[in-house]
Point group: D2
Chain length 140, copies 4
Amino acid sequence: MQAKFTATEMMDYLEEVFPQIRSDFRVEHLDGETVTMRMLIGDRHLRPGGTVSGPSMFALADVAAYVATMAPIGREALAVTTNISMDFMRKPAAGADLIAQAKLLKLGRALTVTDVLVYSEGEEKPVARATLTYSIPPRR
Amino acid sequence: MQAKFTATEMMDYLEEVFPQIRSDFRVEHLDGETVTMRMLIGDRHLRPGGTVSGPSMFALADVAAYVATMAPIGREALAVTTNISMDFMRKPAAGADLIAQAKLLKLGRALTVTDVLVYSEGEEKPVARATLTYSIPPRR
Amino acid sequence: MQAKFTATEMMDYLEEVFPQIRSDFRVEHLDGETVTMRMLIGDRHLRPGGTVSGPSMFALADVAAYVATMAPIGREALAVTTNISMDFMRKPAAGADLIAQAKLLKLGRALTVTDVLVYSEGEEKPVARATLTYSIPPRR
Amino acid sequence: MQAKFTATEMMDYLEEVFPQIRSDFRVEHLDGETVTMRMLIGDRHLRPGGTVSGPSMFALADVAAYVATMAPIGREALAVTTNISMDFMRKPAAGADLIAQAKLLKLGRALTVTDVLVYSEGEEKPVARATLTYSIPPRR
């Protein structure tokens, strides 16, 4: 599939629909199937000890899958998360940004399914993996 | 199982290990098997339109399962989330706190499994459900 | 919700749409929200050592959630499994039937979500839990 | 990681521990990280209409993840499935074998996590995906 957004257009769109997260995320790459997204880690994302919190990793996986879903569909659609499964496999490196690699596995009329691997920047092995289902309500 | 914490002792323990979330959660009930936890919803938990964000619902499910896991084990243990599956079923009511009802289904030596239902306060049908696995590393 | 099938009508319907499983399952109870289903365990469901295999437990959870979905909708609809998360928590008792207790948590126009607990007959603690999403394609 | 089995040795081992599934599966490739496994589809795996049943796809994902887990550990260990999440994304092609591509994402002392994509042979897009956690009990 062809993407209907460039990375810059997607950033503008995210700021419009989710203004409160604008400073946390950067779309580094998108095409119609894959997305690379960076989470700029700050103190508000950390647990004691300096490791990134679970809700922050969830937020990154969720927005990466949202971008993977919207890229080939375009901005006229709505999409809401209906299901996530997520495995936390390693402790994120202290002081490193997180990088999500998302891949759209299914683009149906009503549902999309996206796989996401989350890495601490510079590390070879993923800290977490997730699969998300987005529901695309019919247009009225 | 008997709980090794009262609700008040658990609140003190959460403030000690997760100081940054102290103002968000209240343990309303705990025994050795079930937990009721309130999330005090503020602007930082909301999406445009006033609905509670996915990461906030994740955070509530995660902390409720953590409390259900620690209650019968006691404070000498560590516990880390290894897996979550979560279904988002309805839009949370605007302006209402969220209430999580957690039930510990398995208390093993190495793993626990907890089911969580999340409600908008005063509503009969759940807005989300989750199941979480916590890993309890062996003591050294 | 009111059920559109009795337990006997549902058994007849299952035999019509899934003839190959007719001898494995019994609907013991259904209303518009909950289902109790028995799996009659035979040698073909067992692993060496006499314990019920994972695919057999999956099959039971899947058919129990299917029945919970179809009960309030009626036989004119289609429903296909789109997602399952399942936790295997204890070893099933050798020589005992399995009993599934299913509860329909969401009945939407396009999706249903059902929680299932699986027990060895006569045991208090569940051997497994599952949550299943069924998709209901729009009628043509 | 280095594999402690060749594909042929793994087939022998599977026949020893799971004799009832010997005729269903072929290990086509394994190294210490990835596995390719074929499911030889016969009538017993089919639903009316000729499509492969959900429990059969579950069985394939489960055994592929088991092989991915055991390959780098060796035959002295035990491993039991504790969690699966699985998405059914497309209808399998009638009359085609299924091919699973498994990748071991985490090899811990107590837990492994494996991603599996399932394809109808000859098709480009997966029919299903799954992630499985295996627990490795401590040796006595």
